[in-house]
Amino acid sequence: MSLAFDDYGRPYIILRDQGQKKRMKGLEAYKSNILAAKAIANTLQSSLGPKGMDKMLVSPDGDVSVTNDGATIVEKMEIQHPTAKLLVELSQSQDAEIGDGTTGVVVLAGKLLEQALTLLDKGIHPLKISDGFDRACDVAIKHLEQIAEEIDIQANDHEALIQAACTALGSKVVSKRKRELGKIAVTAVLDVADLTRKDVNLDLIKIQTKTGGSVEDTRLISGILIDKDMSHPQMQKEVTDAKICLLTCPFEPPKPKTKHNINISNAEDYNKLYQQEQQYFIDMVKLVKNSGANIALCQWGFDDEANHLLLQNDLPAVRWVSGTDVELIAMATGARIIPRFQEITPEKLGKAGSIKEVQFGTSNERMLVIENCQCTKAVTILIRGGSQMIVDEAKRSIHDAICVIRNLIKDNRIVYGGGSAELACALQVLQYADEVSSVEQYAVRSFADALEGIPSCLADNCGLNPITSVAQAKSRQLSEKNPRIGIDCMDLGTTDMKEQRIYETLSSKKQQIQLATQVVKMILKIDDVIAPDDY
């Protein structure tokens, strides 16, 4: 901590409790920040690509999760270092915006920082570096748009979408079933997609997990699955041509929100109230029944008596349906959510082909399946797997695949994977570097080197020699003018990614490069870190 002294040799107090604060300045701060961020990138590096490895994360409570998803890894690592936390946010914003490529973005940022470190050692000012990166980034993005291809997502039974989903799933533990799962994800997204508006509301795809069975048993339900059973054990377990009454009021005597007291002062009052209460239940059930509904789904609980009356009136009912499920059912079946019994009318009922109770395993767990809904605008993916960890990881993987498909529906331009797009951009940036006359030239060139880091990292993870394979791919890209040459990760005998059909969305790639550059620029601008000492 540097101190300023006044004329009498007493130190000025500039920061409160400054003796107890840690402070790093200048080059020391740059380097420390970069090293911390690189440490995160190094951890993620081995997860990149189809042959990437997984990470095992033990939570503070001892729960274990195994994952390959960049955003999940950095989130669960519980990172403490302030600059490293920036990378966590980077990965998460890629996850929120695109949903896929969360590992790639962190690795790219790591590579950029690595380059920045050597540039700093050369004595180039950090702002010059970040300016150079910025310009290089623009060039790379422009080139990406040039090499991007539009694909027809509907051709050949949505083959392109399935391939893109497979690319996203290829790096995960579920990769042996990537084709099946890819198809499930594509069907799910297309079921709920609004193709005219080119938009997909992902809320309509519900992902439900259940341990047991195997990943193969994962299936798509063209309807909704809710983790509930009928309120009375003797109600019908299956309703066909269901007319659904969706309630958000309990089958109980009303509870007005204002505080009140009803005083019973004599026996008549007592009897009257009793009558009234009985009448409530009868009225409630009658109102539901009269509307023509043959099943009632309720967000709240039932009184025993009301429950039995429902059974007596052949009205199967489900209680404690969660709020999100209620909304989903409303969207899928066209039902209106009814907050009061008095407002039940036949028009407000939702329709579904069938509702039935299904049972899993030996431990007597039951779920309700609502199928063939009137407005089929909601689907459920039921994920099965040998253990909780596999199921959780499969859920994350399918989420990634769904995001990729959604992005393709929004914007059908793709670039090819396998590091080919990065390599093509690197070549372009390198060419541009020579045109820059100022100090930034070095930064631009380093940017190209950083981009090359991605294919080299891919090659490394696949057990190939990174230097040879990247060099080969680079020379072929130049000599054949083919930006689709990448790394042959799966050992298929071709390096043309079009033949391997490794698709990635343009939006994801663009976002990756932009986000990574931004974060690196931000880290490079920090020249002073002040933190409490014990932090």
């Binding site: 994360l57 390959n68 193969e216 019973i264 008596e305 909780q388």
Partner: protein, 536 residues
Amino acid sequence: MDIVGNVLPQVLKDEATEDKGEMARLQSFVGAIAVADLVKTTLGPKGMDKILKPTGPGQEMTHITVTNDGATILKSMYVENPAAKILIEISKTQDEEVGDGTTTVAVLAGELLREGEKLIQKRIHPQHVIAGWRIARDVALKRLRDISTENDINSQEFHDDLVKIARTTLSSKLITSDRDYFADLCVKAVLRLKGSSNLDYIQIIKLPGGTIRDSYLDDGFILKKQITIGCKRRIENAKILVANTAMDYDKIKIYGTKVKVNSMDKVAEIEAAEKEKMKHKVDKILKYQPTVFVNRQLIYNYPEQLLADSGITVIEHADFEGMERVAAATGAEILSTFDAPERSQQVLGHCDLIEEIMIGEEKMIKFTGCKKNEACTIVLRGASTHILDEVDRSIHDALCVLITTVKNKRVVWGGGNSEMQMAAACEEEAKKVQGKQAFAIEAFGRALRQIPTIICDNGGYDSAELIQNFKVELQKGNYTCGLNMTDGTIGNMSELGVKECLRVKEQALMAASEAAELIMRVDDIVKCAPRKRERA
């Protein structure tokens, strides 16, 4: 410090640790194999049991469990190693999904990892090992399905199969000497469910005393409750009303009600009204003309007396599951309102005889000759609660397997036959595959073969010799051979009647390979700093 000599800033929290590459892999192998080795000795008909002793003050000697059941053992262990936790997790899932094979699944996963470790030492990349395992798994699964057989659900053969499966499952348990008896008992119980898979309808009552042999399946239904004093102890041709309603005092449910009176007279009046209301309810119940009234909730003396006066036998405070079972057995509807006496025919349950019986020293109520014979009761007797608990777990395993078999119908030969056949399939496949994966496929076969090997070892036989002879027999085309664990020879499984359910084997194979793959893929373990807890 990194290579260049820079001091690396601390990125993770203080007590967090990160292991990378070989260290991480070593850690998971060691943990997973340790867990597998722990349960290994319980495998097979000659497997040994474990004593589980709880920790914590005052409990040391009280709640001891003696068991042979893999899931129970693993569930009660506290492990720190994350890979070991994964193994425990799959064992639990196996228990929930099929109920048996919980030891097998953990041992198989452990053996796979043991083989995997050797491959890694040979410098084969984990991803290649996984690729090989995936091929091997599919081949093994295909072979397993090919060798399975299916019988019609109503045929005598199917029934025999069920008995054989139950015998096989029970043979590794404490009650192995009485397995014929219990196998028969379990099959009868499961067949009564008529294809439904709701295990709740089979009630297991454990009563210390007598010997294991005194256990029996009651064709009626037993409720662990007593008939209220002053009622008939034996009712023939009973009409049963099953209710879930308040019979203590029927309070008004309208929100915010309060009794507020200004004189003693009024209190008496309201009391009378309350009494009247209860009487009214009882009257309504009486209109259904039941002879027996079963309620889930408490019944106060007044309504109890009213009911008893009308000659109705009252059973109060039945637990909810018990009620559901009574309802299922007698075909009654569970009532909470009593305004439709005209439906009495539909809602009342029926059974030929209800009587209070004594089992050991406890009084219970037995319902015989029920209308819908779905529910039934298994009464277990035994010398101590520990034995009873273990018998209960064994019976539970057997019931689960039987239910799974009834659903799935396909069976395979036991005695290590299916594992050996799968191993053979893997070895054949390994010869055809090009590349490094072939090593992994072979390794998968070896891991599968470990299961019968361990069974032999646990029986004290010469496993090397037996397994080789076994291989030869299979090679000769004798597809029904298997381990005869009583003589320590290779026997004919169809003569010995050792069968197992396909679904259990399938699930064990898939879950174990999935778990092994999951652990194999890990190259980095990050342990977060443990959450600080305030000591209470």
